[in-house]
Symmetry: C2
Subunit: 309 residues, 2 copies
């Protein structure tokens, strides 16, 4: 947020649209554009043209961040680093998205999952500032999760796929089979926006506040959060996405998390501070593209430290 | 493993026994002792006396590591750092175990959970060498998990409690209600050694190889492992403990993990290398006390780096 923050480009590469911006911080965003996600050739050409025009107006960008839908390859030493790998999105499997941007614009590209990028943005400017270990979860068309552990983004063998955890599913209470094409009734199969739509035969936002679907939704989300708490012991859980725009879900999820933990994890941060433990993102719909900006600026700083710049 | 490894003490503080040792590496362990876990006063006195006698024979110890049963307080800035906090073990709640050892012997104490310590030992000398992100799980009297993420032990708000994740439980196929006093049918409630004993009315080791209890056990463990894979994306899962001494469980768990993931996580490390992805610990029953040694030696190195030594 200082004047020394480098001018960078940011791409939130989603399955339905690409959101692009240029700036130095959330308070200094200078250009915006959105393109529908068509073929890789067409969409990447529009994206590159936008940044070329932006550079002509604002000067050279020091780096670009790409926050991508996935699965993607994040291994720096892999021949397919920077690729979208096995997506069902037609035409986009095995596309070198980071390489295409880097080669066309001739500047360094920071690359990560859309949810890890959003987590980084919340860590830098939002609801997770100062935390070493937290989870960022988005509940919408899909369910995705990322975050920081020990101060660094969650990678590992691949990257988290938190939407695909298995949770208890009482088929007497909820005979809905789930819609995940891989797993049926995993978390995403039971609790994503499309799952709610398929179960109740209308979009989640059309369910009245007192519809039992909200209690069920809070239950499934709470079961997943409890498992993340037991697995990772995050200092906070930031949870957003289209389904969470129903604000009444937050207190319902918090209450069920406390019930499910049943005082086993005796941390004051949970027992006395649940309202500050399970929270909405601050950056809302902008977390993705701001995350891409944070990826770019982090890359610039890393290169400075390493003397590559 | 070099001659420069410092001579340290190690305490595996368990709910039934304390295992103590003095040495510089797994190949150079000079003294061993075991004490039943009685009252804190009695057991800590025996422990301290052992190390005083060992120092008289082998020279001063540079540090002691304590790998403790829990829950414990790992926050360096907490007034109760080094304490066992809320254990049901009579007399041991709110005991300053690390402080008692440090004050009695006058040397620095490294402190962590028994499972994180075991993970550190497997990382240094065992099945997880060279890995930045992996999980260590032990399935015995209880089920506990720890590991490294981004090269550092898993802490966070408290520390992981992986045994208490909730997993799908088909009560038609397995009407057993689970034995966890907090959660009933969480993973530990369904799949620990005592859970198997309560379900089948005899100890797990007495079940014949073709008993359906093993298939069920593999199913529950696989459900948990799949969730850990989706949450953390570990590079490997090291799983041991008394229940896993039934070696046939490993291929059963691996097969069910692959079935449950159903090709969603397309990592060669899983799809082509499952035998090397879900593995037994190398250090077996010694991982806890060797983990305590690793904690002590890590502390000595940190103090050297920081110039405190």
């Amino acid at each position: 947020m200082t004047s020394r923050d480098p001018l960078c480009g940011a791409i939130e590469a989603g399955g339905t649209k690409f959101v692009c911006t240029v700036g130095t911080s959330p308070a200094d965003m200078r250009e915006h554009a959105r393109f529908p996600t068509l073929t890789p050739d067409a969409t990447l050409r529009e994206t590159v043209d936008f940044f070329r025009a932006a550079e002509a107006r604002h000067g050279p960008l020091e780096a670009i961040g790409v926050a991508s839908f996935g699965p993607i390859d994040l291994h720096l030493d892999s021949p397919t680093f920077g690729y979208i790998t096995s997506t069902p999105k037609a035409g986009w499997a095995n596309v070198d998205i980071a390489g295409a941007v880097r080669d066309a614009l001739g500047i360094p590209v920071g690359f990560d999952t859309d949810v890890n990028a959003a987590a980084l943005a919340e860590s830098r400017w939002g609801a997770a500032q100062g935390l070493e270990t937290f989870i960022y979860l988005t509940v919408g068309t899909g369910i995705g999760g990322g975050g920081l552990v020990n101060g660094r983004l969650m990678h590992g063998l691949v990257h988290p796929e938190m939407g695909h955890v298995r949770i208890p599913h009482d088929v007497d209470a909820d005979p809905f089979a789930g819609i995940c094409p891989f797993h049926g009734d995993c978390l995403e199969g039971l609790a994503s926006g499309p799952a709610m739509n398929a179960r109740w035969l209308r979009p989640a936002e059309q369910l009245p506040d007192d519809h039992p679907g909200w209690t069920l939704e809070a239950r499934y989300l709470a079961l997943a959060l409890v498992n993340f708490v037991c697995t990772l012991s995050p200092q906070r859980i930031v949870i957003g996405g289209g389904v969470m725009s129903k604000a009444q879900l937050y207190p319902m999820v918090r209450r069920q998390v406390l019930e499910l933990l049943n005082n086993y994890v005796r941390a004051p941060g949970i027992l006395e501070g649940i309202d500050d433990y399970i929270v909405a993102p601050w950056l809302r719909g902008h977390a993705g593209v701001l995350g891409a900006l944070a990826l770019a600026q982090r890359l610039v700083r890393e290169m400075e430290v390493e003397g590559r710049r």
